[in-house]
């Protein structure tokens, strides 16, 4: 083991606006002795997601908020380094809620058990967190099950250079749709067209972004995969076509805000739009099917996975802000350690 202590970041207070290092207590705890049935996991990669900001808050949410004093919740990938558990072998690569810490003390009664990844994966571990992980599955089920895109439909995705948005656009393209991505800045707009194959890009940082959206959707919008909320969602809503579908995946623009995200309901009624809030957990029963399809598309070169990797657990807290500033591309990941060869 590289360290003889377990570095942990515990929530100290609920952030107001941007996340600061001082919102967390940095604690060094000893690495635990294992009791029967327990295992020790060395965390390798931590997934940073917009939902982390929700967990830090006490807003109405889909899991209990992280309690003050609790280790910050976070998904990630780790490696079993010691085990007295029948479920975990030393060397196994595991996947789940590992928390913002170097080591996860796995107890038999854990609320969220870790899953073990297959040996000899043909794709990098970081892709297993991105296009082929929860992120990819979020895009896959949200778009296909709720957005129900048909060939020729215009599909709009906000945060299109982000982890979920970039996969949504690529799947919509695979399904024969016209894809319009909304992203911040000329460089990201170039990237989503060249790298992720979007037909049109709308730069929400440009003064004329509303006109860009209008020009990019001359036939209206059939599916809006909503990631950001706020004024972008408000501009999309009146362009929705009759019977348009709107999977509501996130409203990142509001997570740092103190006021609720409100939007005009009138087009929902007049255009008979269907809106469905969801999280990937809603589709847990179908993860296998989705993951297999995503991996196949990656193998065939039809689906590209892009990751932004930040080095060092100590950077996790402030790195979450990148998601809100839009300074990451694709999946935002913190590298904690390299896997050991077992």
């Amino acid at each position: 083991m590289k360290n003889d202590v377990n570095r942990q970041f515990r929530l100290k207070n609920r952030p107001v606006g941007r996340i600061k290092d001082s919102d967390f207590d940095y604690v060094e705890t000893p690495i635990p002795e294992l009791a029967d049935g327990e295992a020790l996991v060395r965390n390798l990669y931590l997934s940073l997601d917009p939902t982390n900001r929700i967990w830090m808050s006490d807003m109405d949410q889909y899991l209990p908020p992280v309690a003050i004093g609790e280790i910050m919740r976070g998904g990630g990938i780790g490696q079993v380094v010691a085990s007295k558990s029948p479920h975990h072998k030393v060397g196994d690569i595991v996947n789940g809620l590992v928390g913002w810490q170097d080591y996860l003390h796995v107890k038999p009664d854990a609320m969220f058990p870790l899953s073990t990844l297959p040996k000899d994966l043909p794709i990098p571990l970081t892709t297993m967190m991105a296009a082929c992980g929860m992120t990819g599955l979020t895009a896959y089920f949200g778009l296909l099950e709720l957005g129900k895109p048909k060939a020729g439909d215009t599909v709009v995705v906000s945060a299109a250079a982000g982890a979920v948005g970039s996969v949504v656009g690529q799947i919509a393209k695979i399904k024969g749709c016209r894809t319009v991505g909304i992203a911040g800045g000329a460089e990201k707009c170039r990237l989503i067209k060249e790298e992720f194959g979007f037909d049109e890009a709308v730069d929400y940082k440009a003064a004329d972004w509303r006109e860009q959206l209008e020009r990019a959707t001359p036939n209206g919008i059939d599916v809006n995969f909503e990631n950001v909320g706020g004024e972008i969602m408000e501009a999309i809503m009146p362009r929705m076509n009759l019977y348009g579908r709107m999977p509501l995946c996130g409203m990142i623009s509001g997570y740092n805000a103190t006021e609720p995200v409100k939007a005009d309901f009138n087009p929902i009624l007049m255009r008979r739009i269907g809106i469905q809030g969801f999280i990937v957990l809603d589709f847990a029963a179908k993860y296998g099917e989705g993951a297999a399809q995503l991996a196949q598309w990656v193998a065939e070169g039809k689906l590209k996975s892009k990751e932004t990797i930040v080095d060092g657990l100590e950077k996790a807290a402030t790195a979450v802000n990148m998601l809100f500033d839009g300074t990451n591309v694709g999946k935002l990941i913190v590298k904690i350690a390299d896997p050991a060869t077992v």
Copy 2:
């Protein structure tokens, strides 16, 4: 024929706030000579609906707004009094968009053809406009197809003493749900419990209506059949259960307003709520099935139809305001004339 002129109300200007008589031009036109293929219908009953207020405005809507100078659009029931059309026989009772006038000049190329009601109906004509008409079908399809109520679910209906709401509550009850109606005033609250069988009534005119709603929905809300929007919808939203369904039928509280009806989207995301805007036309292909079921429930005494009848075409304009003031109970109908015995 009772009159030798056709009284018509034509939209003069788009109402601001409440509807005034002066928003319409009263015109007396001669009763037309019929050309081949045409028919003349004497209008008997005019249906007044919240959507009339939408048609008078130029807001984004599901049909073209009524043009300035055009006869006000309105659904209703009439009787064929002269015919050179193969589709209409003198004496037939017909149903459709008859307009705010005494006589409808039916031309062969009418955009919305009239349908003929069966002879010897076992229920009054006004019930054919209420529980067994478009109103009942709106309740039927919105609740069953979109709300998908299961036995034991808590179903909340706003405007519960109104034409649609009263039928929604009764169908939900037939399906074994716990029904909570929101209505204005103690008298209406009594009525919806005693007459329409709601389990609980919330009086939105009472100072403590929010507490009443809370007490009436101790297990949260599974289905919200939304008719009113505004602060009632805002109070319902955070009480929606996981995977709650919300058929969006109307937002009457906003139709007289100049600002859009906005609402907090956060619970939609966090509770994974499904919202679907609809109008009854979306289910036109299934009208037969729905109407047969509604008529059967009426015949069995399981479904009660209630109508408020205003006498006189000249009262139509200001009577629409009753829907917004909440002074009608059940279906609001203007009686224009009695059917003739043929």
